[in-house]
Every structure is written in structure tokens, then in C-alpha cells.
Amino acid sequence: MKWLAPLLLAFVAQPLAAQEAAVTSPYADRQLEDPAQEAAARDLMHSLRCITCQSQSIADSDAPMAADMRSLVRERIAEGQSPDEIRDWLVERYGAYVTFEPELDTTTWPLFAGPLLILLAVGGLAWSRIRRKGRG
């Protein structure tokens, strides 16, 4: 039974400890005064990936880090930076992982080229079949 206490503790300690990481960023959950700026910030937040959680945007995540990143986005939009500038700044640090709108580059080109190639192949196949049918 000696092993039981630490095991139980492991379940208890984590949520308690997580509460201690208090978010103090001013704009984590406060909207910007300018509706147009808030809309731009919100759009960007929905397309930025939370770094500590799986496949959630920072707009959707309750993680402290996502909250801090929301504030960062709002503060920079308020300072007059463009959404693309902010996205690029984050990509410089975290790579394409951080964005849900991947740029075309050496690792992502198959994503864009794949569907085109398949369409071309299928189109070519269909074309040749239709022509053959027409003749026969």
C-alpha cells in the first residue's frame, strides 16, 4: 500500500499546482477598445496554434500560455503591427507549427501540389476514356 499515497498525490498535485500559474497579461481575455482592431486580433488568434495544447487555436485554449499569446497578439495589433508581421514573428520562433495557415515552402509544397497532381491525373484519365468511348 506504500505506493498508493504517491500515486494519489500525483493526481492531486497537478491541478492544484496548475492553479498557481496565474495569468496576469492585460489583454488575455479583455477585448481591444477598437472593434476593427479586435476583429483583426481575433481572426489572427483563431489561426495561431496553441504551443502547449494539442491542435487548439490560442483563441480556443484555456492554457496560460495561450492566454499570454492572446494578450501579445492584441497588444501588438493595438501598437499598429499587421497580423502577418505578428504571425511571421511567431513563425521565426516556433516554425510553421504555430500557424494553421502554412506558407508554401520546401516542406509544405506537397500539401499544395498533391491535390493538383491528383486532379490532373484523374482529369487526364477521364479525358482519355471519354475520347475512347466517343470513337467506339
Binding site: A13, Q14, A17, A18, Q19, E20, A21, A22, V23, T24, S25, I51, T52, P64, M65, D68, M69, S71, L72, L90, V91, E92, R93, Y94, G95, Y97
Partner: protein, 176 residues
């Protein structure tokens, strides 16, 4: 030729199933490495996290010696697990500075008193701004910065006892 073609769907299926099984059995690492490794440490200046210990700024990394930055939080369980290894590294001569993320002075004091205190400087990062600036994805993470201010190595997650020699080696490499 036609006879060969009927196997195409099966080959595609097997390839896809194989890929799916491989991805399930051996999921790729979920680590998100910082793109700043190999680049200059950006400018920053952090206030002291606790009284009596200096904060941390970019200027502290121009002294011509390799130093380690440990990004941690007193609220972070793996950071507690890691602390003895940091104490060991400090004893081996590795200069370690810390950045406390989303923390309070009292809790950091308590953490250091309970688990050990290997840190020369402790900067405060109340809003996680430094963490993002460094491309750090969580706590704990450790960065080794060489004497020219270039980030040479990033360790993601807690440093386990068996990894201590490797970290010392990375620090020595950065010191050269």
C-alpha cells in the same frame, strides 16, 4: 499492363494502412524546438524575481563565457524533479541563470528553499513574454548560450540524472 493495374488500389491501401499504423505505434516527437537555436540571443531585460538576486538581461551574456538559461516555474512539477540535476550542474561549474514564468516571489523563494538553489540570476517573466520571445514551448526548458551570445543548445523538458554528462558536454562545447 491491365492485369498490373488492378493491384494499384491494394498497394495504395496497404501503403496508407502502413503509414497509419506506423504513426500510431511510433508517434513522432511532440517537441517543438526553438528556431532561435544557432542564432543570437535577442535583446531582453527581466526584473529580479526575488529580492537579493539580480534579474536577467541580454547584457549578462556578453561576458565571454557560456551560460545556461533554465526556464522554469515553481508551479511546474517536472521542474521540481529537475532541480537536483541543476544543482549538480552548478556544482560541476556550469553557470546557470533562471527565468521564472508566471510566478510569484514567495513561491519561487519556497521552491528554492525546498528543492535547492543553483541559480546565479533569476529573471521574472510574469506574462510569459520572454518564453515566447525565446521560442520556448513550455517549462522546464534549458538553453545554453555561448560567450558570443549565440544560443547553442536547447534542452526540452526536465534534465534527467542520466542526461547531466551530456549537458556538461554541450556547455563545454559552447565554452570553446
Amino acid at each position: 499492363m491491365r492485369k498490373l493495374f488492378i493491384w494499384v488500389p491494394l498497394v495504395i491501401f496497404v501503403a496508407f494502412a502502413g503509414l497509419a499504423i506506423w504513426a500510431l505505434v511510433a508517434p513522432p516527437s511532440r517537441d517543438i524546438p526553438s528556431r532561435l537555436v544557432g542564432q543570437q540571443l535577442p535583446e531582453f531585460a527581466l526584473d529580479p524575481q526575488i529580492a537579493g538576486r539580480p534579474g536577467l538581461s541580454r547584457a549578462d551574456f556578453r561576458a565571454g563565457e557560456a551560460r545556461m538559461i533554465n526556464v522554469f516555474g515553481s508551479w511546474c512539477i517536472p521542474c521540481r524533479v529537475e532541480n537536483p540535476q541543476l544543482v549538480e550542474l552548478a556544482r560541476a561549474g556550469v553557470p546557470i541563470d533562471a527565468v521564472a514564468v508566471r510566478d510569484t516571489p514567495a513561491q519561487v523563494q519556497a521552491f528554492l528553499a525546498q528543492y535547492g538553489d543553483p541559480f546565479q540570476r533569476i529573471g521574472a517573466d510574469p506574462n510569459g513574454r520572454f518564453q515566447v520571445m525565446l521560442g520556448s514551448a513550455g517549462v522546464p526548458e534549458s538553453f545554453i548560450v555561448d560567450g558570443a551570445g549565440v544560443i547553442r543548445y536547447q534542452h526540452i523538458g526536465e534534465i534527467r540524472p542520466e542526461q547531466v554528462p551530456e549537458i556538461i558536454e554541450k556547455w563545454r562545447e559552447a565554452s570553446r
